[in-house]
């Protein structure tokens, strides 16, 4: 059993259908919202809205940081830390996680300089790591071949660290707002900015899963889930980022929650995959390293949480 076309066909149909649905829903929902929306100048803005969103984004950054910490620990241990710099993502992801826990508990409406610094360093480390990994792919025999894309250090892993740092950094920007005022990031509504970052992040992570599941020859139909569901979510949250302002996006919210669940389900599937390898969990010293990466899928969860935070922002500040 190799490429079972049925799940692909079903997923592709689902994807097309849902995208179409998402597009057609807009005028219907929008009309309803327009009819019921009160005039802008009367609308009250919840003073705690920004803090709420910032803390959500701290959580999102934290989930991704936790995934990166676990994943890079396992993978760089597999790489024998042959380059001393390979300790960096473990350190910075730990700090990023700590900062996120701290930020989640923090109810003040000013950015925290240390957290800011950590998140910025995380994003930078992720960027450097991504460059390292790209360089590693190219320097092996065969250069930028499928073989090296499959087996060299994956680009998506340090990129997740960029996302974690970015989300955390954006969290601080959202937090750093006068209560009651709509948060702005770089001249753009914060909600839209975070939504855009989420959309790109989901597409990137889905691509990484697609590459590695392709390496696994999609031997199990469930391997199609992370390459079909998140792109739908990315389309919907992307539509929120760049499309017309709307008060309610139930479809987008549903898909974000589904994606969040999918992240954890993915770890469950990967645990099944590890058990399926020779020696199963008893051979954990090989299978935890060789098998499907256990902590990688929750990156989707972190991104989905960021997307939900973005939705919250846009719902709280619907004029943007």
């Amino acid at each position: 059993m190799t490429r079972n076309p049925a799940p692909l066909a079903i997923s592709a149909t689902a994807l097309l259908g849902l995208t179409a649905l998402a597009l057609t829903l807009r005028p219907v929902v929008g009309t309803r919202v327009v009819r019921s929306r009160p005039p802008v100048h009367i609308r009250m803005i919840d003073p705690g809205a920004a803090i709420r969103a910032a803390r959500r984004m701290n959580r999102a950054a934290g989930v991704i940081a936790a995934a990166v910490l676990a994943d890079s620990s396992i993978e760089h241990y597999r790489g024998s830390f042959h380059n001393k710099a390979m300790i960096a993502p473990l350190v910075i992801a730990s700090l990023s996680l700590a900062a996120s826990v701290h930020g989640n508990a923090d109810k003040r409406s000013t950015a925290h300089r240390v957290r800011d610094g950590i998140y910025a360093a995380a994003a930078l480390t992720g960027l450097i790591g991504t460059c390292f990994h790209i360089f590693n792919i190219g320097k092996k025999s065969g250069g930028f071949s499928w073989q090296n894309l499959f087996y060299s250090a994956p680009i998506g892993a340090p990129a997740a660290l960029i996302l974690s740092g970015t989300m955390g950094f954006l969290a601080e920007r959202v937090r750093d707002t006068t209560p009651g005022v709509a948060p702005i990031i770089a001249g753009v509504s914060a909600g839209r900015a975070v939504a855009a970052a989420t959309s790109l992040g989901l597409l990137g992570t889905a691509s990484e899963a697609a590459l590695l599941h392709f390496r696994g020859a999609y031997h199990d139909p469930f391997m199609y889930l992370p390459v079909t569901i998140p792109p739908v979510t990315a389309a919907l949250i992307g539509n929120a980022a760049f499309g017309r302002a709307r008060e309610r996006r139930p479809m987008t919210r549903f898909w974000l929650r589904f994606t969040a669940l999918l992240g954890f389900a993915g770890s469950g599937f990967h645990a099944i995959g590890i058990a399926r390898n020779m020696g199963g969990w008893r051979n954990w010293r090989q299978n935890l390293l060789n098998g499907p990466p256990l902590p990688a899928p929750p990156s989707f969860t972190g991104l989905a949480l960021a997307g939900l935070a973005a939705l919250g922002l846009m719902e709280d500040h619907p004029d943007d």
């Binding site: 092996k140 390496r215 696994g216």
Partner: protein, 547 residues
């Protein structure tokens, strides 16, 4: 612990071992000896296995015989070279000629699943021109098969064996995507790649019959490196875990520890059944058709041993070619020492390969060769050191200590057919009372020229990656072929393109013996493809009453 597979047959009493479950069994249909079955297949390896499955799936009653035991890989296979010699045909063959062939583990398995239980899983397609070696390339002989038809059967075989291979294969016409992705390169393979790139030659991860991701009950390869000593995880897609279980599911019977000693023929000259030795006594199975798939030594041995007054030179031998045109393949190598640790025993032995000299005809010799990365285990490695360099004493131990730094490239090279290279019957008898095979072989000038060219190229490749202490293994061969060649006319061949013998319409031969030429690649995928085709051909012939 499971019972000893050598003590008593395991495929008996209505069941056969389930190779995927510890102590498990699958139901097995059993046929009466006294009622003729449609097909007896002698040998259950690369040729016999697919035929058993194809014929059983086509509704024929089939019994497969194998002299070897029915192994349970998960339980019977130890991580030990010496112990695992139990996979090989260790009964003696007499070897002579100018260049006597090393038998045993180099080319001869003895097990249900045949030599595929111990093979290195390299699964390559022929260069299309080789099917017309004589008319297109000017050497050897033409095959009575069209490469385009074989191309389809290669695809079927690759699918059935879940071959893990690269997304783009650098040589030959386009082929469909391999079912699984290629394996990661180990250090030894990486060195082949670097050397090839330094020489401007293309290289590729090797298409291998072991899975890189789970497939059914097979887990992915754990890279233990004991491939040629039996895969204890069932990642390797040998016949034992692929076609044989399929055959059983479709109603075939397998008889293990069953040595077929003689094919009986009737007064009308047709085959009537086989005499076989099992559980201490000689028995007879009636059959309407007999397929001999014992590979290039046992097949002619059986045909010659079945001589009668009507067939004094052995069965299917009006051409006189049974046993003749034996070909092996040159398997020389170049070895060196690296500063880095290579630890070449991790993973399948040949994770990378270059087929450049199979497709580049700017040579002053005929035929082609490929070379691949190597990963010998300690006993195999000391065999190389002693036979190639004559080392012994303290010097040997000192050289062997460099084990983890060794690197090597090994060729698979085409050798040309020569009627003087042959299998005959010696007077000596084996433990079944059957006359032992004598294997006579000598290299021709073309063979030697090809070997020297390859050694030079491989040495260049090792020098290019900075290996030191480089030495050559000048004498080694491996796979076999040719002793019952396929052809277009009876005068110059033993079987037709359908693997049907010209002389006896219900006697078929379906293994590497039928190759008119060997090509410069490992033969197993071609043997399996021919067997799948033969099964289809038999079904077609039966449908129109030509059986």
């Amino acid at each position: 612990m499971a019972a000893d597979p050598f003590a008593a047959p395991r495929a008996a009493n209505g069941r056969a071992p389930d190779v995927f479950r510890h102590g498990g069994w699958v139901p097995m249909r059993e046929f009466s000896e006294t009622e003729a079955v449609d097909f007896v297949v002698v040998g259950t390896g690369a040729g016999g296995g697919p035929l058993l499955a194809g014929l059983a799936e086509g509704g024929f009653s089939v019994v497969g015989f194998d002299a070897g035991p029915y192994f349970r890989p998960l339980e019977d296979f130890a991580s030990d070279e010496r112990e695992q010699e139990k996979l090989y045909w260790t009964d003696e063959r007499i070897v002579d000629g100018a260049n006597p062939i090393t038998m045993g583990g180099k080319n001869s398995g003895k097990a249900v699943g045949g030599s595929t239980v111990h093979f290195a899983m390299v699964s390559l397609r022929f260069r299309p021109d080789w099917f017309k070696s004589r008319s297109v390339l000017g050497y050897g002989a033409d095959w009575p098969l069209d490469w385009r038809e074989m191309w389809d059967y290669y695809t079927k075989a690759e699918k059935a064996l879940s071959i893990s291979g690269p997304l783009r294969y650098p040589w030959g016409p386009k082929r469909p995507r391999y079912p699984y992705r290629a394996h990661e390169l180990n250090g030894a393979a990486e060195l082949l790649a670097r050397g090839a790139e330094a020489m401007g030659l293309k290289w590729t991860p090797t298409p291998l019959a072991t899975v890189s991701a789970p497939h059914g009950k097979s887990p992915p390869c754990v890279y233990r490196g004991f491939c040629r000593f039996g895969c204890s995880t069932n990642a390797k897609q040998s016949q034992l875990v692929t076609f044989i279980p399929r055959a059983l599911r479709a109603g075939a019977e397998i008889r293990d520890l069953a040595m077929v000693g003689r094919i009986e023929t009737g007064p009308d000259g047709r085959a009537t059944g086989v005499h076989y030795h099992r559980e201490g006594s000689w028995r007879f199975q009636k059959a309407r058709n007999i397929v001999v798939a014992g590979y290039a030594i046992e097949t002619p041995r059986l045909l010659l041993a079945s001589a009668t007054d009507k067939y004094p030179d052995g069965l299917a031998n009006s051409s006189g070619l049974v046993g003749k045109n034996l070909m092996t393949q040159s398997n020389q190598a170049v070895f060196g020492v690296m500063e880095q640790e290579v630890r070449w025993n991790k993973g399948p032995p040949s994770l990378a390969i270059t087929e450049h000299w199979n497709y580049d005809d700017r040579k002053d010799f005929a035929g082609g060769y490929c070379w691949m990365a190597q990963g010998p285990l300690p006993v195999e490695w000391v065999a190389v050191q002693t036979s190639s360099r004559g080392l012994w004493g303290l010097a040997l131990r000192e050289e062997m200590e460099k084990y983890n730094h060794q690197v090597g490239l090994k060729m698979v090279g085409e050798m040309l057919p020569d009627e003087r290279n042959r299998v005959t019957l010696a007077d000596e008898k084996d433990r079944y009372g059957l006359r032992v095979a004598r294997v006579t072989y000598g290299w021709g000038d073309n063979d030697k020229a090809l070997i020297q060219h390859a050694l030079g190229q491989m040495q260049m490749s090792l020098e290019a990656v900075g290996a030191t202490n480089i030495f050559r293994q000048e004498d080694d061969t491996n796979h076999l072929a040719g002793t019952a060649r396929m052809g277009a006319v009876p005068a110059t061949s033993v079987v037709s393109s359908d693997c049907r013998s010209w002389d006896i319409p219900n006697l078929w031969i379906c293994d590497g013996s039928v190759f008119p030429t060997t090509g410069g690649v490992n033969p197993s995928l071609t043997i399996t493809s021919i067997a799948m085709r033969t099964a289809d051909r038999i079904r077609a012939l039966a449908a129109r009453g030509d059986l």
